[in-house]
Symmetry: C2
Subunit: 106 residues, 2 copies
DNA sequence: TAATTAAGTAACTTTTAGGTTACGCAAAGA
DNA sequence: TCTTTGCGTAACCTAAAAGTTACTTAATTA
């Protein structure tokens, strides 16, 4: 498979977001995850692979089971992007305050 | 057109993210935006509509021109989602610290 | 008022994300 | 060792996202 997603595309899918949500409660095997979804196991496998490739989860093989755990890496890119715009709004607010202060001094 | 996107889908598209990036520098008309992209104007129009519907930008009509400005609303849903996992990691870190502290007391 | 400019709409095409079924393989149990 | 279980891969299908061209409309300008 040749699918390569960026962090934003990865969390754009509702099922994948739900998986991250579930894994934030507890680490799970592939089948454990699958129980929560109304789709075939291969479909689950695909999502898991995408989450793994994107650094949102890590996978520990234990015999024939694969245990999925949340991993911070994938979230970082999103975080940074959000942070950038956060600063934009904060800055805008600051400028507005300065403006109001100047007005009140007149 | 009947396209309805959630906040995550909206920022999943690289062109739309670039638009938000550009608008964080300065507000722009539709054609102003279009200059930065290698795609037809109708394609730009579509993206702008999606950003507007999602509350990521607002549009002020000035004559035949439409001026686009960043708007905070759309970012909020993303922010909240990120915050949830932020807390997850912080919490995990705290638990780890507690564990280390307990060890050192033994 | 005729021409130009800024932008939207409609209809269509292409690409791709997300799903399926069928099959294979290795680990675990009977 | 035979069967079951947990999971992956391959090939395929479908729906929808993202793009196109052709046309329209309304504001501006010559």
């Amino acid at each position: 498979m040749n699918q390569s997603f960026n962090a934003f595309q990865i969390v754009a899918d509702p099922s994948r977001r739900q998986m991250l949500q579930l894994l934030s409660q507890d680490s799970m095997t592939i089948n454990g995850l699958a129980e929560h979804f109304d789709m075939s196991r291969p479909a689950i496998s695909k999502h898991v692979r995408i989450l793994n490739d994107g650094g949102f989860i890590s996978i520990q093989d234990k015999g024939r089971e694969r245990h999925c755990t949340l991993k911070q890496d994938g979230f970082n890119e999103l975080q940074q992007w959000i942070d950038y715009f956060d600063k934009f709004w904060l800055n805008k607010l600051k400028k507005l305050e300065t403006l109001i202060n100047q007005k009140s001094k007149q």
